[in-house]
């Protein structure tokens, strides 16, 4: 009979290392408990520089250490608050360096959508602080868009709905899709990139960003702060159409318009072709009407002006005529003929000079006498100056 060989760890001679024990604890624990949902109260929450979260979950009797890897925190809307009642999905693990049992969490939810609401309110408050929720920022949508950019998944129903509603309203409308994942971890980044493209392209009159209905988690990309900021920065007017009626998403709050569904967005955005044609015709008659009114007014202005002119001209002539009459009367009154008419006569020499003094007369010479009805030849017989 051969001597019995001692099992590892059975005796001092076969003692196993701490590492081996730790490893076996790890493999027993991790291999025997499948992933589970647990519930408890959050305590001692810490967020490390590495991005991992550490805290404990407890109830009245027990407590267990928990952690969330940085890569898994992206799927959790917000960090839990101290004392928050949560449910967590994860698996038991052993941290070998200390042989500590830890619950490694993959999904975390607070009762009553607490974490979603918290994340939403936090992002909303930041947008609000930057003025991005100001109603005054909202731009009017174009009334006659010809090209509509649609940011959504090429696989989803939203694109189909938008295209069919838009084309039913106006078959000549252009719809340009800018593809982006609308759910999943890459969705926020892809939506931001698509929004930037729409803005740089500047070739659309309007951007519709949205998706069909889904669970709270499916719709979460539309509550991402980065996506909301990209909507706010878009140079082209935006409609947010996230397919849910009840809740408002962050993109709804910053977009120029919120539509309840993608179909409703297309309905609002695209005017019916018949209406556009009608509006163009009305514009034509408005132009013609305004011009003919304007011309009519010009004609009546002209008529009034010419009437005014005639009246003024007549007045001017009359005025001048009365001035003339007044001057003529004055001149008439001063005329020497008038004096002669009153019985006076004028003596003139042969050259027509008036002889008004006695010394103008030369005895023996002829002179003329002018009366109002003719003239007389005369001769000076004698001159008698008045004695002074």
């Amino acid at each position: 009979m051969s001597p019995r060989v001692a099992e590892p760890g059975e005796s001092a001679e076969t003692a196993i290392s701490v590492s081996v024990l730790a490893e076996s604890v790890k493999s027993i624990v991790e291999g025997s408990v499948p992933p589970v949902w647990i519930r408890g109260e959050v305590t001692g929450f810490k967020k490390y520089r590495s991005g991992h979260w550490y805290f404990a979950l407890r109830d009245g009797n027990a407590q267990i250490s928990c952690m969330v890897w940085a890569s898994d925190t992206a799927r959790i809307p917000a960090a839990p608050d101290e004392g928050m009642q949560v449910t967590a999905y994860g698996r038991l693990g052993v941290y070998a360096a200390r042989t500590e049992i830890r619950f490694s969490i993959l999904r975390l939810a607070a009762s009553g959508d607490g974490l979603w609401r918290k994340a939403f309110e936090e992002a909303r408050a930041k947008l609000d602080a930057d003025g991005l929720l100001d109603p005054a920022r909202k731009r009017p949508l174009p009334r006659y868009p010809r090209t509509i950019a649609v940011i959504t998944s090429t696989e989803g129903a939203a694109l189909h709905d938008i295209v069919s509603v838009a084309r039913r309203r106006d078959p000549t409308i252009c719809v340009v899709v800018i593809p982006a994942a609308v759910q999943g971890e890459t969705a926020p980044k892809e939506l931001v990139r698509a929004l930037r493209r729409a803005s740089h392209w500047d070739g659309a009159d309007l951007v519709i960003i949205g998706r069909g209905g889904g669970s709270r988690e499916d719709l979460w990309a539309f509550n991402d702060e980065r996506v909301a900021r990209a909507v706010a920065m878009c140079r082209t007017p935006t409609i947010s159409a996230v397919g849910h009626e009840v809740d408002v998403s962050l993109t709804d709050l910053v977009a120029d318009l919120r539509a309840a569904t993608p179909s409703a967005a297309a309905e609002t955005a695209v005017p019916e072709r018949a209406k556009v044609v009608h509006d163009l015709e009305r514009m034509g008659s408005r132009l013609r009407g305004a011009l003919s009114l304007r011309a009519e007014r010009a004609r009546s202005d002209l008529a009034r002006a010419s009437r005014d002119l005639a009246v003024r001209a007549r007045r001017a002539v009359e005025l001048r005529r009365s001035w003339l009459a007044a001057s003529a009367a004055t001149i008439d009154a001063l005329s020497p003929l008038r004096t002669l008419e009153r019985g006076y006569v004028v003596a003139r020499d042969a050259d027509g000079r008036t002889l008004s003094r006695v010394r103008d007369f030369v005895v023996g010479e002829e002179f003329g006498i002018v009366a109002h009805d003719g003239s007389v030849r005369a001769r000076t017989v004698d001159v008698k100056p008045e004695a002074t």
Partner: protein, 70 residues
């Protein structure tokens, strides 16, 4: 100028024409511009063909629209 801009300009022209204080020669000029724009907009609307495309960024950074098979 886009269809939207044409329509906006037309509205502005109509408003100006409806304003009594506009001198007649300016009104005539605006009317002529309005008629030209109205023709352009009508022609654009009639010539438009519906399209469903996808925005594609090209190597030089510019964008083009590629038709989508639906």
């Amino acid at each position: 100028m886009s269809f939207e801009e044409d329509l906006a300009r037309l509205d502005a022209i109509a408003r100006a024409l409806e304003n009594d204080r506009l001198p007649l020669d300016e009104a005539m000029k605006l009317f002529e511009e309005g008629v030209a724009r109205l023709r352009a907009a009508t022609a654009a609307l009639e010539a438009a063909e519906g399209r469903v495309g996808q925005l594609v960024k090209q190597a030089d950074g510019t964008f083009t629209v590629r038709d989508l098979q639906r």
